[in-house]
């Protein structure tokens, strides 16, 4: 792959004693949709603000297009940001808001008006061009904010939780708008969010942050199916986490002895030593449920505790020996055939290749 558009090299950002971002190294490539995800205070917004020049790194290097950016002022950068608060100028109309950046660049009035109207039309809000932004709805404001940034024709667009103020239906619509825009324009999107569904629905790559560190970088599928560590496994999706010690390493995979018995896991790239403590995850939707003991390598017996419906998918919570807690996700239709009720004893089983060893505990 060619030279990355953005590189973070050992970047650290401190606010007095608080470390917001710790020793971060990250490449962002031209034309990718990168999501930075984490709970509040994890350093994701600070990372974005450093890209926009609103915070300077305490140490380390940030380069954009090869140029060292540590001390470059915000207005000397080409990194428009879509703010969580939207930060539209309340005393201006929608069109004047979109024109603002072009005006700062000194573009002639007629030309900047033409471009602003083009973008408002593209965002399907040209009818509101001459309205004061304070009178627009949430979705319309959102589109003005996008148009105001994109009219600058940047190589990279920064987005800071732009959909967090919208209601659920509108979020799905705007996700569609954003992914289509990103594909059509071919520019880099760096999208900060705390929402897993937003990140996984739109991004090519997801960076998961925790307390200033990058916990994992990967495609949504990688992160979902193969979480690297306990934090990611707990943060993302419905993972069952089991811990034990490494037994003999046979040809068919890694043998792990747990309080619930011996399980076989898919052999990881770096094989842990015999006797080492390891944990592995089994995704809730990759577990098979059967009423009689199955012919499977990995199986446990468990009792149904409760059910949780989300649309057509149901999550079942089980309890097994030695305080084992297990989650299973399945189609509601399939559940009906099994005819379970709380207290039912069942067998849970999974394939060795679906057991993912965590890199660290």
């Amino acid at each position: 792959m060619s030279e990355p558009l953005v590189t973070f090299r050992n970047v650290e950002k401190r606010f007095d004693d608080f470390v917001a971002v710790r020793d971060m190294s990250l490449d962002i490539h031209e034309g990718e949709f990168l999501a930075i995800m984490g709970s509040s205070g994890c350093g994701k917004t600070t990372t974005l603000r450093m890209l926009a020049g609103l915070e300077a790194p305490t140490s380390g290097e940030i380069r954009i297009g090869g140029r060292l950016m540590n001390d470059v002022k915000p207005h000397e950068r080409d990194t428009p940001l879509v703010w969580q608060s939207l930060a539209l100028f309340p005393f201006l109309t929608a069109r004047e808001n979109v024109e603002f950046g072009l005006k700062m660049r000194g573009m002639a009035a007629a030309e900047r008006k033409r471009r602003a109207l083009d973008w408002l039309e593209r965002m399907q809000i040209e009818a509101f061009a001459e309205r004061n932004v304070a009178t627009l709805s949430g979705g319309q404001k959102q589109r003005v904010a996008l148009a105001r940034s994109l009219v600058m024709e940047p190589r990279m667009l920064l987005l800071d939780e732009p959909l967090s103020a919208l209601d659920a239906n509108l979020v799905i619509r705007m996700q569609g708008v954003l992914t289509r825009l990103q594909r059509e324009l071919g520019i880099t999107f760096v999208y900060v969010t705390h929402s897993q569904s937003e990140a996984f629905a739109m991004a090519d790559r997801v960076v998961i942050m925790s307390q200033g560190d990058i916990a994992q970088i990967g495609s949504p599928k990688d992160i979902y199916r193969a979480p690297a560590n306990r934090f990611v496994a707990e943060f993302v999706g419905r993972n069952n986490i089991l811990s034990g010690t490494v037994g003999e390493t046979g040809g068919n995979g890694l043998h792990i002895d747990t309080p619930q018995g011996r399980f076989v896991a898919h052999m990881p790239e770096t094989v842990p030593a015999q006797g080492a403590e390891v944990s592995f995850t089994v995704s809730a939707d990759l577990v098979t449920l059967s009423l009689t003991e199955p012919e499977a390598v990995n199986k446990v017996q468990a009792t149904l505790i409760s059910e949780e419906f989300i649309g057509s998918v149901v999550t079942l919570f089980f309890e097994g020996a030695d305080r084992l807690e297990f989650k299973v996700q399945m189609q509601e239709r399939a559940l009906l055939e099994l005819d379970l009720e709380p207290g039912s004893a069942v067998w849970l089983s999974w394939e060795a290749e679906n057991a993912n060893i965590l890199e660290d505990n």
Binding site: L54, H75, P80, A87, G101, M104, A134
Partner: protein, 264 residues
């Protein structure tokens, strides 16, 4: 219902307060249009004589000119100072910010007579007393806190991301100031201009001490009253009152009107 009775009582109470505040002014207005030399009832005939007298009085004209120059210059200077302090409070965090703000808000809490004496001592020491400029400087010190309080209130309503958004879109700090901060604060700035002008236009003690021979309107009024009983003072009083009220009401309408608009 109890609420109704309470409302009537509160209405009367407010009415009484207004009567108490405005009755003397109303009397002044009535007697300024009365032909009798002494303010007594029954009233004489309706007349504009006292207004004609002050219209033809060169001293009064000179005082009005002085007052207009002083109050408009004060308004501009005090509002500028007030804006700068309010912005420094909004934008920056620094040690001793509490004492900094307290010091700025101090002047109106000092008794005017003490303020006036101190101003006179200080200005004559640096050779600036007895000029129109002296009054402008002293009034600016006195009124800047009001301007700062109004503008600070407005800045607190601003999304702090707005300024950063202007930088983010390629505006330098000065451009952001000109195209975002000032337009956002415009209603407060206009209000501050009106309010500081009104305070300066009315102010007597400080003007009297530092003005030397440059009389402003309140000083002329005092001189008229000191000399003899002269109904022209009612005419001047009415004029000063209407000027100040217009400015203050303008300030209120502009500031509160905009606030309501930005909250709806």
């Amino acid at each position: 219902m109890m609420g109704r009775g309470l409302n009537i009582f509160l209405g009367l109470y407010v009415g009484l307060i207004f009567a108490f505040v405005f009755a003397p002014i109303l009397f002044s207005l009535v007697f300024s249009l009365n032909s009798q030399r002494f303010p007594t009832i029954p009233l004489g005939e309706f007349t504009l004589e006292w207004y004609v007298q002050i219209w033809n009085d060169e001293d009064v004209w000179q005082a009005v000119r002085n007052s207009v120059i002083v109050s408009s210059s004060t308004a501009v200077l005090a509002t500028f100072l007030g804006f700068c302090t309010a912005y420094s409070d909004f934008r920056y965090n620094f040690r001793f910010k509490g004492p900094y703000l307290a010091l700025i808000l101090l002047p109106p809490t000092i008794p005017l007579i003490i303020m006036a004496l101190a101003m006179l001592a200080w200005l004559s020491r640096i050779g600036l007393s007895g000029q129109l400029w002296s009054i402008i400087l002293a009034h600016s010190v006195l009124t800047a806190p009001f301007a700062m309080a109004l503008i600070r209130l407005r800045l607190h309503q601003m999304d702090p991301d707005l300024e950063a958004a202007a930088w983010n879109l390629g505006g330098s700090e000065w451009q952001a100031m000109r195209h975002v901060i000032v337009p956002f604060c415009a209603p407060a700035i206009v209000s501050a201009l009106c309010l500081t002008a009104a305070i300066s236009f009315d102010e007597f003690a400080v003007s009297w001490f530092v003005s030397g021979l440059n009389k402003t309107v309140p000083i002329v009024i005092l001189e008229i009253v000191q000399g003899n009983i002269d109904p022209t003072v009612n005419a001047i009083g009415t004029f000063v009152f209407l000027t100040s009220m217009t400015l203050v009401i303008l300030a209120q309408v502009i500031f509160i009107g905009r606030q309501i608009k930005s909250h709806s």
